[in-house]
């Protein structure tokens, strides 16, 4: 139902737990997948795991010129770009009182400006073909806020506003633009929480467990597919019911 045969996808941040799972899901649906990230060895390892129809495309998205070059590389090597997944992002947490300009702008640059630049570069070919998918990975904190994450929450909320605007600009060209907003996903970082912290977190998640990267990847695979052709400007919250917006 969510088949992606013949499609080409680009996943940024493919070295991370969620990004790698998204790449696996899209590849599993038949897409050729370009894997981007900063750690070449991890990209190579994922590429080796996936097998055929994979391009390793390292990029440092803090460089403003990188997004255009990355999209051009994918189009040159895989022939086209049908599905852009803006997954790359990082945090630099701190209470606002202590947050430096650099902590603010570095996060905004990679988590919000780079996705915009990637979308701008990708939409050219998509417009010509009258079809395309842009899916950005935001976060529950973009909707709810989170103390210590003013920069990250602003970037993630920004992705939602950006996507709604692009959705309206590009709808007439058959391009959909959507957001997946994960809640708390099980990662090495959340595994490090102590039992009491975990218990407090669970109280806030009606479905009673942490999310898995596969929960997010499934949402992306849906939005990337032809089956989601009538969905645009939407934010799909995948958070175990933690925030119902």
């Amino acid at each position: 139902m969510f088949g992606l045969d013949g499609k080409v996808a680009l996943v940024t941040g493919a070295t991370g737990g969620i990004g790698a799972e998204i790449a696996r899901a899209l590849h599993g649906q038949g897409a050729k997948v370009a894997l981007s990230g900063t750690r070449q060895e991890k990209l190579e390892a994922l590429a080796a795991e996936l097998g055929e129809g994979v391009l390793v495309a390292p990029a440092d998205l803090s460089d403003p010129a990188a997004p255009q070059a990355l999209v051009e590389k994918v189009e040159a090597e895989l022939g086209r770009l049908d599905i852009l997944v803006n997954n790359a992002g990082f945090t630099r947490d701190g209470l606002a009182m202590r947050m430096s300009d650099k902590d603010w702008s570095d996060v905004i640059e990679v988590d919000l400006a780079a996705p915009f630049r990637l979308a701008r570069a990708a939409m050219r070919g998509m417009m010509k073909r009258r079809s395309g998918r842009i899916v950005s990975i935001a976060s529950i904190v973009g909707t709810t806020g989170n103390p210590g994450q003013a920069n990250y929450a602003a970037a993630k909320a920004g992705l939602i506003g950006m996507s709604k605007s692009l959705a309206q600009e590009l709808a007439s060209r058959g391009i959909t633009v959507n957001v997946v907003a994960p809640g708390f996903i099980r990662t090495p970082m959340t595994d490090a929480l102590n039992e009491q912290q975990k218990a407090r977190l669970m109280e806030r998640i009606p479905l009673g467990r942490m999310g898995e990267a596969t929960d997010i990847a499934a949402a992306v695979a849906y939005l990337a597919s032809d089956a989601a052709g009538w969905v645009t400007g939407a934010t799909l919250h995948v958070n175990g019911g933690m925030a119902m917006t």
Binding site: R124, M127, E169, L170, S172, R173
Partner: protein
């Protein structure tokens, strides 16, 4: 008709899916040929690609008719 004019009109026909006869020099992309704002951006990008010229935003805004496009591109090529 100059080479430039011919090429410009061909691009307009292809991009907007309009009949060639409608693409006169004075035809306005939006008012006469049914283009929307995104179409005009696409046209400018297509002109840039086809002619190897750069059309900055302030110049692009003033290109509203077929003749505007031809004149601008010919001026750029002559420069």
């Amino acid at each position: 008709m100059s080479d430039t004019a011919e090429k410009v009109k061909k691009i307009v026909v292809e991009h907007l899916g309009v009949e060639e006869a409608k693409v006169t020099d004075t035809a306005s992309f939006i008012d006469d040929l049914g283009a929307d704002s995104l179409d005009t951006v696409e046209l400018v990008m297509a002109f840039e690609e086809a002619f190897g010229v750069e059309i900055p935003d302030d110049a692009a805004e003033k290109i509203t008719t077929v003749k505007d496009a031809i004149d601008y591109i010919e001026a750029q090529k002559a420069a």
